[in-house]
Symmetry: C2
């Protein structure tokens, strides 16, 4: 089944447009695509006429062309007739927004079976039902929430596939926007009657050139399709992430009523995912941290060149003793370890810092340059650390509160990293007035995080990435190294 018309349609028709209710799903989708997106849109309304000055067509077969995609936003009972029309008119793809199918049982289940039969018999790529569809910029956006209500993420390397529309627009879109992670295409699969997670994994791995990372929120695999998914993930050249909801008993009860799916035994699942080189973040926050790091590393302008190989040996450079301590505490939990500096190295670093800081600073690992630090101290010590081969990654903990840190600090650090290409993960509090510092780093494609934990998680993500690449390339365990 070809999915490209679902994500890259030249033309699209929308049904279920209400003339009375400006908040009806079909109307929101119709208007936002007409006004904001690049696709050619046709509105269908039994009475014809116009809406917001745009002509409406009474029937699909009256359109000036056969559209690539049909968005169906009518009641469950009226849905199948449109699916049949797709078959009759050879419309290759459809998105069904409404609920009232397998998730409500009985009649809905029968309805969904009919839908599946038409789709598979006629090779129609149907997404849903019970979903919010596709966000594929700059072409289409079938999310039935008004654009001004949601927040859209920037364009980037991550394909997002979610079994929950709410999770897609909130846990992903909003957070991606907030912490600057880029999305290639986002898909809400709903009941996944036809198009399922495996088909999407295959499409984004093999067909979509903008995607380098594929992240799934699932509440279980489609029955009978788990094996397929795992094999595709292992073969994929992209990084594959899964985050599962409904893995506890309480959560399972919830999913039964939600999307009629149920995950298997959590431990077996987890072992299978790992074996197939799928990354399973421990929390939603960790997922976001991983994706942010991987999105940056997928940029054409690789900030760390070919050095993004990290086995876990880090140096911590801080200007607050407590931050260094908290960071060091977290290393072990994330499979990382601090390198030990020689007496000579410590003395040399000491000589690189200003006379006031020097006397109270500490040059163990974590290094604490103290609140008496100046820009040059950080710059010079970072250059020094960048040249120590056994340090694979530097965690930089910078608080711009210190009186002598200037607005130049972001650019200075960014330049050092770009010169030496040593992997560096940067922590700084997220405060609007320091936006300039953060921006200087982000423009240089340096990963910036706003909690110590996230910075440490990001390094563990680089380690994970190294492991998976090694396994994908020569199938040897990197731990043997």
């Amino acid at each position: 089944m070809e999915l490209n018309k679902l994500f890259k349609p030249k033309s699209m028709a929308v049904t279920g447009i209400s003339k009375k209710n400006p908040l009806s799903a079909g109307r929101i989708i119709f208007v936002k695509n007409e006004f904001e997106m690049d696709v050619k849109v046709y509105g269908i309304h039994p009475a014809g006429g116009e809406l917001e000055g745009i002509k409406l067509y009474t029937k699909l077969n009256e359109l000036p062309e056969i559209p690539d995609l049909l968005v169906i936003a009518v009641k469950a009972e009226d849905t199948l007739q449109y699916v049949q029309e797709c078959a009759d008119l050879h419309i290759p793809a459809a998105i069904i927004i409404g609920g009232g199918f397998a998730e409500v049982g009985n009649e809905g289940l029968k309805r969904q079976e009919k839908l599946e039969k038409i789709a598979f018999d006629n090779d129609i790529a149907i997404l849903g039902p019970n979903c919010i569809g596709v966000y594929s910029p700059p072409l289409i956006d079938t999310i039935f929430m008004p654009t001004e209500r949601i927040t859209r993420p920037p364009k980037g390397s991550v394909a997002l596939i979610s079994q929950s529309g709410g999770v897609l627009v909130d846990q992903f879109f909003h957070k991606f926007n907030q912490i600057n992670i880029g999305v290639s295409t986002a898909v809400s699969i709903g009941n996944r009657a036809v198009v399922d997670e495996s088909m999407l994994l295959e499409y984004f791995s093999k067909k979509d050139e903008d995607t380098y990372n594929i992240a799934f929120y699932l509440e279980g695999f489609k029955p009978g399709k788990a094996r397929k998914f795992l094999e595709l993930a292992k073969e994929s050249e992209d990084m594959v992430f899964t985050y599962f909801g409904g893995i506890t008993e309480q959560g399972k009860t919830a999913t039964q009523s939600h999307t009629a799916s149920l995950s298997g035994n959590a431990r077996i699942l987890s072992a299978a995912l790992k074996q197939h080189l799928i990354i399973q973040p421990r929390s939603e926050n960790e997922l976001l941290t991983f994706l942010k790091l991987f999105d940056i590393l997928s940029h054409k302008k690789k900030p760390f060149g070919d050095k993004e190989v990290v086995y876990g040996r880090v140096a911590i450079l801080s200007i607050s003793g407590g931050h260094g301590v908290i960071c060091a505490d977290m290393l072990k939990k994330y499979g990382l370890s601090p390198v030990k500096f020689t007496e000579k190295e410590q003395q040399e670093m000491k000589q690189l810092t200003n006379p006031v800081a020097r006397e109270i600073a500490s040059f163990n690992n974590p290094i604490d340059l103290t609140g008496s630090v100046q820009d040059e101290d950080i710059e010079r010590v970072l250059e020094y650390l960048s040249q120590i081969e056994r340090i694979e990654c530097v965690i930089l903990l910078i608080l711009p509160y210190a009186p002598s840190i200037s607005f130049q600090i972001g650019r200075r650090i960014s330049n050092v990293i770009t010169n030496y290409k040593k992997p560096v993960v940067f922590f700084s509090p997220y405060i609007q007035k320091y936006g300039l510092i953060i921006e200087a780093l982000e423009l240089g494609n340096i990963p910036v995080f706003h909690s110590i934990k996230e910075a440490v998680q990001a390094v563990s993500a680089m380690k994970n990435r190294t492991r998976i690449f090694n396994l994908k390339i020569d199938n040897t365990f990197w731990e043997d190294r």
Copy 2:
């Protein structure tokens, strides 16, 4: 030793003011207190003259009065003479900003011993050395970072005591400001040569009427003072929180160079803290969540009246199935359990919702009102849940993306909670354009969180609070109930 002059001084003198360097610690402290704080400030400079138009005195004994507090921001070698002057002039309190004492070993250690002797012999409440001192609004602020660089938290119920100045201004001040937690007084204890964590715990428990919650960031107890601290915590009517840095081997290495302290065996420590009714959050984020909740519950206007007793039975009300699932998954980990709704209750709730949502909504626990929800649905179902006795707390997961949710939703929910006084924890994404919704809830003293995890943690905090109150009141284990 009386500490009140340290936190509530009427007058204060500052030494270590540089006329050449506007970023010297003493000068920053002098100017910010003179310009921004309520205390009467005197600046000391050997050459006299003036600074920013303010008269400087050449010596302490030339001041028009004996100040309550002296801030000493000179080099280590010059510090002791000022400490001796405090003794000679009967200045009852001092804050020593500079380092170069026990934390650098040898000579520094001897210097610190001399300092201690003078302080204890003369009953001078000395804070530090090697600290950023005290923030006690509206009176004093001895933080040597310029005020415009740091972010100050609002006024509230939490006393903050930190062994790291960086942690105080960043992990606490900045985050408190961001998520709206109020501080009564904040103290950086540095090397705690004289004033230590136990003395502060006693002071804030017994002497300070604005404080209801006391939070510590420590890297170990002062040697020989652990027992005292634990006993004071158990007796205290305030809630006591500790967050420890340096509990892993990596972290310990870091603290040795930082503040010359070392925590004992982490497991023994943890058991002792629990036994003495000290709350130990598992992460910095959990600490912040707990403090936010406790700060709100300490307000005079108690949002939940006398009902803030929670043993763990919750209802989840969501408008996104996935959010409900993720929330339900987390309950068990936090010692919470979902109540089960009867068939009758489910039918009654169904009747309270609009006809479109009703057909696709789910009334299990978690309840999913779907994206077709309207304000009234949430209002009515919340009222219904508020009247079910066996529900101790409602977790409300509201995404304002849904087309029919209005800007009124925050106020409507706030009013229901205020009427019924059922404990409710609210989740909503943190997006500027929805500030109005969040503000309506915060004005009603309803706890609002911006991740599902934090909302669940907050309920576990209420449960924890119930446990500790029960134990403090009648010393019976609440689990027996």
